[in-house]
Amino acid sequence: MATSTTSPHLDSGRRRDPDRAPRRVGFSQTLGRWDVKVSPYLYISPFFILFALTGLFPLVYTAYVSVHDWNLIGGKGEFVGFENYLFVVQEPNFWKGLRNTFSIFLISTVPQLIIAIVLAALLDANLRARTFWRMGVLLPYVVAPVAVSLIFGKLFADKSGLINTVLGYIGIDPIGWHAQILPSHIAIATMVDFRWTGYNTLILLAAMQAIPKDLYEAAVLDGASRVRQFFSVTVPMLRPTIIFVVITSTIGGLQIFDEPRLFDQTGQGGPSRQWMTATMYIYELGWGNQKSFGRASAVAWILFLIIIVIAMINFAATRKISSETSATKKRKKVSR
């Protein structure tokens, strides 16, 4: 406290003290203060700069590209208003892309969640060689989707594929895994689930282990069987985590590209685009024969708006549910 000429400020603070007598401040001290003030922003700045450059700017600029006649090779052309949008919404392939994306997403997410919850419940027991089992379910996570798709593309081959052959042994006619719409979606959903089920199992397992044991003791006292405990204690307590898993799979799932792209050699999503997803359509418009960045951007922007709407619905649902179970939210770190 160098001076006492002025009455001390109420919310004193060494920080703002304009009336303080000028004091010679050493260079290192100035540097030190500057260090304290600027460093925190400096340290977080790489993320914000990079996000602005490679995340935010491209998304916003997509809208700009989408209202221009813009070619991969020729570059920017004239302003065309909503012409690109009008073009794509009149294309049957655009609607097929949306249909396939949502269909594959639903077919993959629902069974994946159910299997993951069951597996997590099994892993939650006091197992021998616990780490072995946990690592075992996670193994497919390190396999690239490209590799997964090539393997499963062969497993699901329409003729002479392993799965159709096995089905033949038990008297089921070969299924057109590539030829038909729904079977192809099931095959692609299988690839997604192969890679992600173990990962989500471990997230759910961690959430399960965070459930207070006294809830189970109370359930036991009330005479609940193990199955009843699972449905009346475990599943409700997992709800925030389940929602979290669903949200993350929505963001990834609606942009799915790798698995359907490599499901056959042409990479076009089938002869009549049975399994062509929205992202594949974006690629086809921009880098395929048309080379139209304008149209590709129009589709990207529409898909972006759809994902935002879904995210908002998710968010609203999450808020509602988490306020209902606010006393028990354990691991939902996203909303914190």
């Binding site: 260090d35 304290v36 460093s39 925190p40 922003y41 340290y43 977080i44 790489p46 993320f47 990079l50 996000f51 490679t54 995340g55 491209p58 998304l59 997509t62 590209v65 597996l119 099994l122 892993l123 027991a125 006091n126 197992l127 780490t131 690592m135 075992g136 379910v137 996670l138 193994l139 497919p140 996570y141 390190v142 396999v143 690239a144 490209v146 590799a147 090539l150 393997i151 497993l155 392993l162 192969f194 173990g198 397992l205 961690a206 036991v220 006292l221 009330d222 005479g223 609940a224 990834g252 942009q255 990479g267 921009g286 880098w287 960045f293 922007w301 972006f304 994902i307 770190k333 996203v334």
Partner: protein, 304 residues
Amino acid sequence: MSAPSLPVIRQTAGRGAARAAGRSRSTAAGSDRRPGWVTYVLLAVAIVLAIAPLYYAFLLASSNSAYIAQNPIPSLIPQGEFFDNVSKVLNGDIQFWKALGNSIIVGTVTALSVVLFSTLAGFSFSKLRFRGRNGLLVFVIATTAVPTQLGIVPLFILMSQFGWTGKLIAVIVPGLVTAFGVFWMTQYLESALPYELVEAARVDGASMIRTFWHIALPAARPAAVMLGLFTFVASWTNFFWPFIVLGNQNPTLPVAIQLLQASYFKDMSLIMAGVTISTIPLIILFFVAGRQLVAGIMQGAVKG
């Protein structure tokens, strides 16, 4: 000893509860009891399903196209042509070695960079006071929900402007730091790095960056290893953006592997040989560090 006896339960909570409590003690309901064999069988089935497609790929990789055509279900014993097929792929026109080198470069650089920048930001968010801290952290978390893949057209235009198309830097730069990493390190340092330690360093006259380097970074090591692993796996398996911006001339492994399908689209044994050798490095990594991956996910990892 603290658990109530069955007669007590019967008196206070009824007969059914007493039966359930008794059951919990005699069977495996308590979590400290060993589970029955059914649990192990079900888990074994899950693990077989996780391994089977990979083994199937290996089996096809060690046979030839004639064998594959005749045997939709391959024999569980490998046919012995694995190394022939692998050498065909290695010497083929997909530039396997270049792709392997590229994948290693991209994976290593992004993993190191993500760890460094995320720890730096995590240190700042968790232990330093500055205006707007909470708002900015919420912003970081919110960006994980932004489908950035949909911005590829302008991102590609941007990379063309820089003259980076076809170059590794176009794949590396967008991955230098991730929102998930920042969030993950913030969470970890929040609890793992005591304020006292930071203050002690400051009192001793260490600058901010020295405090970070000598106090925060060592404290962050376990989480940093996990983050590095996750980043490496994500980079190694990434296809969409490298496929678009790199093209076939300077591929990463996934881009090279999909070329196999175009170049030998009838010979499954060669395609599967490529699939197998491109997957082996990560399988090895998994056996070395899978424990860390499991722990990482269970400590609140988020898909990223």
